[in-house]
């Protein structure tokens, strides 16, 4: 059994436990979906649910209360170093 100790490097607060953060998704709709109705359907209900590296947003709810962007591997929950950043304003 692998015991998980997930931490996120917050640009403002430093390395903090993942429980302090709330997860936010960056929705992605494939460009090949061109029909407006299909895009609406996709936006409302469908998920890419990528198996591998995803870029996503986390909100430091119990810290600086700012959003950050990071890359995470959904297969392992690994967060490669130096991937966290604030978004460009």
């Amino acid at each position: 059994m692998t015991v998980r100790r997930l931490r996120i490097q917050c640009p403002h607060c430093g390395v903090r436990a993942i429980e302090e953060f709330l997860h936010g998704e960056i929705p992605t709709i494939p460009e090949r979906v061109v029909d407006p109705d299909a895009r609406d359907l996709d936006r409302a209900f469908m998920h890419t649910n990528a198996e591998g590296l995803v870029t996503e947003r986390w909100f430091h709810a119990m810290g600086c209360r700012r959003w950050l962007t990071l890359t995470r591997d959904t297969r392992t929950n690994d967060i490669p170093e130096r991937t966290t950043s604030y978004p460009p304003s």
Partner: protein, 403 residues
């Protein structure tokens, strides 16, 4: 290995892979094997392959908390799960195997006035659509489950509950083995340690699967995959309303007293039952961020233990024996997705996030009927993928117990 287990395992593995089958089912878990079983037993379709990446039941069929119930919040779901619950009641007789099926009764506890309204509504809608659930007051609750702390440690007071007498549990591995055995006896091929790596296509049509054991043709291909269904679907450009989340659970050492019912609380996000061995089985909600990992965390243990002790103080004196993680396919509207996909010859049965084990008999039976007849049976028609495009979502978040 005792006599019982030896008697149980009579699995006739195939010695070769045919170049093609009438039906290829991806995923050797409960749903995939039940579909194969009902195809063989009810419809005489035995030229069927079940392709499993690991060993049968190694995914979520072996990682769930084995609870069987029908106390859902929308009519379509109550009918479907009630049918499944009744099939579970007959399954030991049908398969001739002891599945350790035990009817325990399920208490779903309300800690607030909003919770009371929800449990009252659940009782009404269950009764109206063919299941049985009643709203019970505090006095009845403590008669059903004397171990409950009615004050909830002063923080989570118990105001009432809905009681679902038919709530049951069964041994998940044995359900998987019983279906596999029944299907294989009639000639279904189950190929373990075989991974599907892609689809064979003829234009839009799916004509089979590419696997680590070579290409396998299929008249119809059914995805009964748990966890990786969106990855599989993306190989044919299909988008699904599914996100995959980890769900963790643990069992304690043996509790020396009998603990009768299954106890669930949406407010606290935990559910507790006792296994046949006497261990207390505690499950929780899914982790928020989508992930496919099977790792477990200490923070889950800490928060889940804290919340379950608020309900059942005796748990404080027990020790955590083991802990595990499964990955749940959570659909956008918290209901399963079954049937046609829009891609010719490709069917799915998915979205079994936290309600898949209890649905195995009915899900398998209905998918088999759909495959055999080419028409969607009325019981699962509301759960078709096209419901999202038709603005007919089956929103039932309050019945997931684990979101």
């Amino acid at each position: 290995m005792n006599e019982f287990v030896e008697r149980l395992v009579d699995l006739r593995w195939p010695d070769h892979v045919r170049p093609s089958y009438d039906v290829v089912i991806i995923g050797g878990g409960g749903h995939g094997l039940a579909t194969a079983y009902y195809l063989a037993t009810r419809h005489g379709i035995t030229n069927v392959a079940v392709i499993e990446k690991g060993y049968i039941g190694s995914g979520n069929s072996g990682r769930n908390t084995t609870i069987i119930r029908a106390n859902y919040g929308i009519p379509e779901a109550v009918r479907f799960y009630q049918h499944s619950l009744e099939m579970y009641g007959q399954l030991e007789q049908e398969t001739g195997r002891d599945l350790m099926h035990a009817t325990k009764g399920l208490l779903w506890i309300a800690h607030s006035e909003a919770g009371v309204r929800q449990e009252r509504a659940r009782a009404e809608i269950n009764t109206a659509f063919g299941s049985r659930t009643e709203y019970v007051d505090v006095k009845t609750i403590s008669e059903i489950c004397p171990q409950l702390d009615m004050t909830g440690q002063g923080v989570w007071p118990i105001y009432g509950a809905s009681y679902h007498p038919a709530g049951a549990s069964a041994r998940h591995d044995r359900v998987v083995w019983a279906y596999a055995e029944g299907a294989m006896r009639l000639g279904v091929h189950v190929h373990q340690r075989t991974t599907v790596t892609g689809f064979l296509r003829d234009g839009d049509r799916v004509t089979g699967v590419q696997t680590t054991a070579g290409p396998i043709g299929g008249g119809l291909v059914v995805s009964a995959v748990g966890g990786h269904v969106t990855t599989l679907a993306s190989m044919v450009g299909l988008r699904l309303p599914i996100r995959t989340h980890q769900l963790q659970a643990f069992v304690t050492n043996r509790y020396a007293q009998a603990f009768g019912p299954i106890v669930a609380s949406s407010g606290l996000g935990v559910y507790v039952s006792q296994t046949a061995k006497g261990e207390m089985l505690v499950g929780a909600e899914v982790d928020r961020a989508p992930a496919y990992a099977y790792d477990s965390g200490h923070s889950f243990l800490r928060s889940c233990a804290f919340r379950s002790i608020a309900l059942l103080p005796f748990l404080r004196d027990l020790r955590v024996l083991r802990q595990w993680t499964g990955v749940c396919d959570m659909s956008t509207d918290y209901s399963p997705v079954m049937g046609f996909t829009g891609v010719p010859n490709l069917l799915v049965t998915t979205g079994w996030g936290t309600w898949g084990f209890k649905a195995i008999p009915a899900g398998g039976e209905q998918m088999a009927a759909l495959i055999a007849t080419g028409r969607t049976p009325p019981l699962i028609a509301p759960f078709a993928l096209e419901r999202f495009a038709n603005d007919r979502t089956m929103a039932d978040r309050g019945s997931a117990g684990t979101h």
